[in-house]
Every structure is written in C-alpha cells, then in structure tokens.
Amino acid sequence: MNATFYVASIVAVLTTMLVITRTHVVHALLYLVVSLLALALVFYTLGAPFAAALEVIVYAGAIVVLFVFVVMMLNLGSQSAHRERRWMTPATWLGPGLFSAVLLGELIYSLYVGLPGREGVNVVPSRLVGMTLFGPYVLAVELASMLLLAGLVGAYHLGRREHLQH
C-alpha cells in the first residue's frame, strides 16, 4: 500500500507542478486530469473508495469537461482545425500519457497483488458514508443542493449573451 501511495503522490505533485507552469490552457488541463486521477488513487490507498470514485466522476469527468468547453468556446475561429492538428503532436500527449500509464500500472498492481485494507489501513465503506450523509448530515445535503441551485442560476445569468451589449 505504501509504495502505491508514494508513487501516486509523486505523480500528483509532478503533474500539479506541470499544470501551473504550462502556458497553454489545454496542455494544463491534460495534466490536471492526470493529477486528479493520481489523487483518486491516493484516496483509494487511504481507504476511501467512495471519495476516489467521486474524484474521477465529478472532478476529472465533469469539472474538467466544463473547463474544456469554455476553452473551446473562447477559441472559435476559422483556423481551429489547424490549431487542433497542431495540439495533437506527440510532444503534447506524451507527458500525460506516460503519467497515466504509471497510474494504470499501479491500479492493475493493486487489483492483482493486494487491495488496501489489509495492512493497517482503515477502509471507510461507502455504505457508512451514505448512511451518515443522509442521517445526521441531511441538512448539509439540503444546503449543498441550494448552493448548486444558486450556482446554476448565477451561471445562467452571467452567461447570457444579450447581457454584454451595454
């Protein structure tokens, strides 16, 4: 478990450093995805499988897609196909691909060699998380839903196009 944790955290730190130093937003987002996947693996080795799944689904799956959508919306132009071809050079995807390969190797290793939870790691099962979430924390769930509704309304209001003519 320890080696898995260390390798995943090293990958997370390295890719985060690459995220904040890339000049191109799309390259930074590629490294951000790998950093979030590495952090999901860290959660998994820490005995939090539900948080690991949420990290992959919500962060790497939804939030990064929002970023990519906005980047694509801002880069509308006739030369976008040429630019897209230029982005897809091997130098662009080689770094994130290598880090993802390391993470995949770790995942396969932990699936076949040993699951965490046998070497003194406290696994918090997702059933306990769900029962606590809708037991004592149900008010926090309602508050989070109101926050998401406020975010939805705010994003819709700010994103209107006729708002910017004046």
Binding site: V19, L39, Y59, L66, L133, A140, L164
Partner: protein, 104 residues
Amino acid sequence: MPVANVALNQALLLAAVLFTLGLLGLLVRRNVIMMLVSLEIMLNAAGLAFVVAGSRWQQADGQIMFILILSLAAAEVAVGLALALQFYHRFHTLDADAASELRG
C-alpha cells in the same frame, strides 16, 4: 497502527504541497482560466486533508466533507467560468490585469 500513522503524515504533507502549488499558481498566473484551475487544485487539496483525517479515525465525516467541497467546487467553477466568458467578451483577453478598472 504505525503504517497508518506514516500514511497520515505523508498524506497531510501531500495535501499541504498540493495546496501550496495551487496557491502559487493562483498568485503567479494571470490567465483567468488558469487561476480557476489553481482554485480547483487548492479545494482538492483541502478535500484530501479531510479524507485523510476521516480515514485515520475511521469516520465517514471526512468523506462527507469531501462531497460538500466537491459540490462547492462544482458551483464555484460554473459561476467562475461564466464570469470568464463575460470577461473575454468584454475585454477580448483572458488577462486578469486587464480588469484593473475598479478605482475608488
């Protein structure tokens, strides 16, 4: 549990390093979208600290705090990206220094 304790210290160190990297990116970068990405990194590091603490004491509260941070990050990034779109349409750049028009 010495193994879990070592993992606790190292994982908290990882959370601190990630938070500092996010803060550094927020202070250094002037691209609005990159500043939002740095905010995401910082929120993620805070969630990692919660998950580590919950895993150490075998309580579900840490992961619940992580879920709340997750929904906060989702709402924040939706509003922030809408603001970034408005920013680009108004100033035709993503440089945050272009918006230094607020003078008292």
